[in-house]
């Protein structure tokens, strides 16, 4: 690699002429390195080395402490006296950060030297044994107190553990409560929203109804006013109508009275006129006889004369009775009785006819008129015919024949 780099540099530059600017640049670079790099290089390297050393020591301490804590946690109930003592010792050792492995080795070496050489001033003797004994007693006392403290701590750990469990339980309950409350809160919020919506809808409906009510009320007021006006008008019209009607009725009454009065006057006058005329009633002896012959299918067998004939032609039932009694003797008589009502009607007709006939004939006096009635039997309709006949004892009379 160096050889091709070298060739590159040779091709690039001629060593024979070294320009001034290049010298200046090289000097400037050197000066820069002296100023910016060299004075910091050693410092930073040393710092980093020291930092790494301190860091590794710190990690060792942490690891050991962690291990001891773990061991202590596992052996709370057991007899962990030696482990505890060892841990304390180790912590004390480690707290002296300067005590490195190298110094440990040096101490070991020193101790070996002392032990190997009885003439050494630090060789263990009587005095040293006493000191060590005292130290041992002291250490035992310390150990006892540490045991006691350890027991207390263990008890405290148990208590605290139970407290912790309780608190955890409480926490879980509280969490659950919180979750439920949150869910409830959500539900209630939704419900509030829906209710608010309903409320707003109802409000809108209410408003609409109110508006409608107001409008209808206005219309109603207007109509009531109209109605009142109409009623007053009706009342006035009714009053006028009644007045007019009463007027009309009064007028009618007046006219009616006038009419009645006039008629009475006329009747009265007629009556007076009638009473003024002298009516000549023929004497009893001048009898007008009417002969009615009932011609039955065989032949007419009976002729009969009625008693009287009233001048105004108002002869009715007594005459018929007389007729009926006149034909009582024969078989045809019963037939005549059964047809009595028909006969009455016939009679009425006949009497009118007779009267007219008599009037047209102009007969009077001793004339006897016979009325011959022929009634055909069976169910055929009755046909009447009248003919003038001469009574056997007097002048002819109109004869009615029923064919």
């Amino acid at each position: 690699m160096f050889c091709f780099l070298f060739s590159f540099f040779i091709s690039d530059f001629n060593m024979a002429e070294l320009p001034k600017w290049r010298e200046k640049i090289v000097d400037a670079l050197r000066e820069r390195d002296m100023r910016q790099v060299e004075c910091f290089r050693g410092l930073i390297n040393d710092y980093n080395r020291l930092f790494e050393g301190a860091d590794s020591l710190r990690q060792n301490i942490n690891r050991t402490l962690f291990q001891e804590r773990a061991v202590g946690g596992h052996q709370i109930s057991g007899d962990a006296g030696p482990a505890l003592a060892a841990a304390t010792e180790k912590i004390q050792l480690l707290s002296l950060e300067t005590l490195s492995e190298r110094s440990d080795a040096a101490l070991c070496k020193l101790a070996a030297d002392i032990l190997a050489n009885p003439a050494h001033p630090l060789y263990p003797g009587e005095q040293l044994a006493n000191v060590l004994e005292q130290k041992q007693v002291h250490m035992l006392e310390e150990l006892t107190s540490l045991h006691r403290r350890r027991g207390e701590n263990a008890q405290m750990i148990v208590d605290l553990n139970s407290d912790l469990a309780k608190l955890r339980q409480q926490l879980a309950a509280t969490d659950q409560l919180l979750a439920e409350s949150t869910a409830d809160c959500e539900t209630l919020k939704e419900r509030i929203a829906s209710l608010e919506q309903t409320n707003s809808e109802l409000n809108a409906t209410n408003q609409t109804l109110k508006d409608e009510y107001n409008a209808l009320h206005l219309i109603y007021m207007q109509m009531e006013k109209n109605f009142k006006e109409a009623q007053t008008e009706r009342d006035s019209l009714l009053a006028r109508c009644l007045e007019i009607k009463s007027n009309v009725a009064e007028k009618m009454n007046q006219e009616n009275e006038e009419f009645v009065r006039r008629r009475q006057l006329r009747v009265q006058r007629e009556l007076e006129d009638a009473t003024r005329d002298v009516v000549v009633v023929p004497p009893d002896t001048s009898r007008v006889a009417a002969c009615i012959e009932a011609a039955l299918p065989t032949k007419s067998i009976t002729s009969f004369v009625s008693d009287r004939l009233y001048p105004t032609g108002s002869y009715a039932l007594p005459a018929v009775n007389s007729i009926c009694s006149g034909i009582q003797q024969s078989r045809k008589y019963r037939m005549a009785v059964s047809h009595c009502s028909a006969l009455c009607r016939i009679f009425t007709v006949v009497s009118d006819v007779t009267r007219d006939l008599l009037r047209s004939i102009g007969g009077g006096g001793e004339t006897h008129t016979w009325l011959i009635l022929r009634i055909s039997s069976g169910l055929r309709p009755v046909r009447l015919s009248a003919e003038m006949v001469q009574s056997p004892s007097g002048p002819p009379l109109g004869v009615m024949t029923a064919a």
């Binding site: 070298f6 070294l18 640049i25 670079l29 050197r30 820069r32 790099v37 930073i44």
Partner: protein, 262 residues
Amino acid sequence: MLEDRQVLRDVWDGRLPVCFRLADNEVHTVSAPDPFYMLIPRMTYFPLVIDKVRRHFSQSVHPDHAKSDVWLEWGDMPLQWHYPVGLQFDLLATDSVLPWNLVVHFTDRPDQCPFMKREAMESFFFSTVKEADQLKHKGSAISSLGKRDHSQLWTGLAFDKFDQFWAVNRHLMECEGESAFRAVPVRLYRAGAPYVQRPVPVRAEDGRQNTLRQLITQLAPELTDDARAIIHGIEPPMDTPLQWLSQHFSYADNFLHIVVFP
């Protein structure tokens, strides 16, 4: 020629003593962590050295932030990840007292310095190298390099291996056939302003070699003769030829990053 190699070596070996401290408001332990000192090569980039710093401080911040992206601050200014370390020092703190005290933050990263991972830094580095080669050789030199050369170039920079880096980089610095580059890839920086980049020919129209003075006159005509131009922490003489300067004083990305002070 050893002298010339010596210049390259001196430029390569330029270091900056940097002291990283964790921002006071992000300390999450009882006591503030110890500062972290490093000698950082001027050529390299912060993303290549920041992992150690992060590892050092990640124990001392809030556990939620220990894995978030860090950012560096000097004198209330966030540092850019994609500028070489030496350039940022020359631009921001050239006359300040060393070591360079940087504050490390794990939170509240400002938007103007998005964090660059190592891979992003690598691709950015190669894009700059290609740009420089386009200016120098119309891209012919970089296209002749293989994938293995690329990785050698990058690892040489990342692991501060001078020989490994220059074994590849010399291909980029050679002048094939001609005696000079087509243009010198150079960027001119001034404090508080974006940099100026324009291709500057190696030779003037009259055939003489352009020097640093002509370069500054072309790129920043408003500057007076008293202006200082700083590259790699020194002020090269104004009559230094551009060709030589580009070959020896370029940063790893083949660009001349010159900081000027009026």
